[in-house]
Amino acid sequence: MVSPVLEVRGVSVAIERKRIVEAVSVTARAGEVLAIIGPNGSGKTTLMKALSGELEHQGDIALNGRPLRTLPPRTAATMRAVMPQASVLSFPFTVREVVRLGLSAGLGVPPAQREAVVAAALRRVDLAGFSGRMYQSLSGGEQQRVQLARVLCQVWQPAFEGLPRLLLLDEPVSSLDIKHQLLVMEIARGFAAAGGAVVAILHDLNLAALYADQVLVMSEGRRAACGAPAQVLDIALVREVFGCELTTLQLPNGTSLFAPAVATQLAAE
């Protein structure tokens, strides 16, 4: 059994005394991608903010066995990186300068290698020629990929000093075209394959089905289900949680994908 990178036990989060997340437990292990899915307002982002240390929580969150509450910011930054939904810069940095901010966490990247790490991260997110561009001049999707490159620089080695690192991605594909959605999911898989752990909020059930090892389904702040995609992404559960008509399409290899129920009606007509 691989030891857990992130262990969440009975975590509740309240914002202005209103409970947004209620008693959620889940474990993210090295080598795995954990997808968090759920309808709008189900508490996904709030849970993510608790996992990143941004919001206070009740219950226990442990990062590599150490309680998150007691981790100094600097130490936490050596163990996990967080990609927010969107980032607005207050000053005009170039793409390269934004990505280098990831390195500024100063986590053991030798100075001589820094430029190479930045360049590799930009190549990885398909922004190879962009390092001299002003961040503000980029499209939303390009900015999102710059942020991913920055985050990848922060955790440039998926395992550091023997400890696996954690990537927290809050809707990492929300502004991306289909090609780059797949690219980002491949990056997440690659990070996990190299010994790290990934937790990503996703809206696309099919991306979750195809790329996640484990899916946490949130509904009204609670854990509705958690487990391997094949077990959890059950049509009845998904219909109930999301409250909409869906149907499944079977791939030849047995994987089921979701489509709006209207798809089968259209096909029948």
Partner: protein, 356 residues
């Protein structure tokens, strides 16, 4: 052009920043020479130096030259550099902290708050606050300006920041309210002031380096130096803060501690500057803004570059203030406002186009 100067990697402005820093050092040396060599008096540095060489220091002309250079222009030069650097660096730090390029100690009321403390001390220091003056000694003006400046900054931060967002409109309006309140209290002080206090106060409220002496250097210098030095240590945190407080925290920055240090340092630098020179405005906004256009917003270079350019800018402005209506002297605050007002409008117009 930027791309050619920027070094081997696109988007890397390090070389450009280093060249700019070197250029600014030269500029500061030139400005210091200008400040030392110009003035209402016809004192001559070569004459003084040759007299020193010859050991002839009892000539009344030499004694006068010595007085002009060592006791008038040199302390004024040092104070000008320190205050210029302190105000420019305070501007950078406030802008980084509020995540807004328009934040400036003068514009948002920190200077008004600091002035209030100083004015209260000027008027009541000999009477109602005499016991306090006795304890604080030569630092009483600086410390009272620091305390009221600090309180103002804290109020401002509380009012203008909701969650992690700073509302620029709220901040500027809060600045107006604070300035109005400070003006009201200062009005009461003016009412209480004696004639000589009143004349000092009027000149001082427009901003001036006149009356610089070694005691003022001794009282404000160390405070400004320490505050500027503390600000230089905030480089990494201020850079990370560009991405927002949450991301700065994710990058390992102890954000609350950073904010506390920044607020205290800004209040100390502004308070110590205001205590000796009164309200010199716009340096904290002009200098960082110009430098960001050239070398970008990386605080590693922006902070030292702002200190150098702020110091040089104030020395030149002071040289202008001293000589333009010689033998009389213009308050330096008028010179910086004459440059800074139009400059600020220009920033507003540009921002409207660039949308940041």
């Amino acid at each position: 052009m930027t791309a050619e100067l920027a070094g081997p990697v696109a988007g890397d402005r390090t070389r450009l920043a280093q060249l700019t820093l070197a250029g600014l050092v030269l500029l500061l040396v030139a400005a210091a020479a200008l400040a030392l060599l110009t003035g209402a008096s016809d004192a001559s540095l070569p004459r003084l130096l040759s007299a020193w060489m010859a050991g002839a220091t009892d000539d009344p002309l030499v004694l006068r030259d010595q007085l002009v250079f060592l006791d008038i222009r040199l302390p004024r030069l040092l104070l000008g550099m320190l205050i210029g650097a302190g105000l420019a660096v305070s501007g950078v730090v406030m802008q980084g902290l509020f995540r807004n390029p328009l934040a400036d100690p003068g514009l948002v009321g920190v200077s008004s708050g600091a002035s209030l403390g100083a004015v209260v001390m000027i008027v009541l220091g000999g009477t109602a606050l005499a016991p306090l003056t006795a304890i604080l000694g030569i630092y009483s003006l600086q410390i009272s300006a620091f305390v009221t400046g600090l309180v103002t900054t804290l109020i401002l931060y509380q009012v203008a920041t909701r969650g992690t967002q700073t509302q620029i409109a709220t901040m500027l309006l809060a600045g107006i309210a604070i300035a109005a309140l400070a003006t009201a209290v200062m009005g009461v002080m003016v009412f209480l002031a004696s004639d000589s206090q009143l004349r000092d106060f009027t000149f001082w409220s427009m901003g001036s380096l006149a009356g610089s002496n070694w005691q003022k250097v001794q009282a404000s210098g160390p405070i400004i130096l320490i505050a500027v030095f503390c600000c230089m240590l905030l480089t990494r945190g201020l850079n990370a803060l560009t991405l927002g407080e949450a991301t700065a925290m994710h990058l390992g920055i102890p954000v609350q501690r950073l904010k506390r240090i920044a607020i205290v340092a800004v209040a100390a630098a502004t308070g110590a500057a205001v205590a000796v020179s009164g309200g010199i405005g716009f340096i904290g906004i002009i200098v960082p803004h110009l430098l960001r256009l050239v070398i970008g917003p990386d605080h590693k270079y922006l902070l030292p570059a702002s200190a150098l350019l702020g110091a040089a800018f104030l020395l030149v402005a002071d040289a202008v203030a001293r000589t333009i209506v010689a033998p009389a002297e213009l308050p330096i605050g008028i010179v910086t406002a004459a440059v800074g007002g139009p400059f600020f409008l220009w920033i507003l117009l540009r921002r409207r186009e660039l949308a940041w």
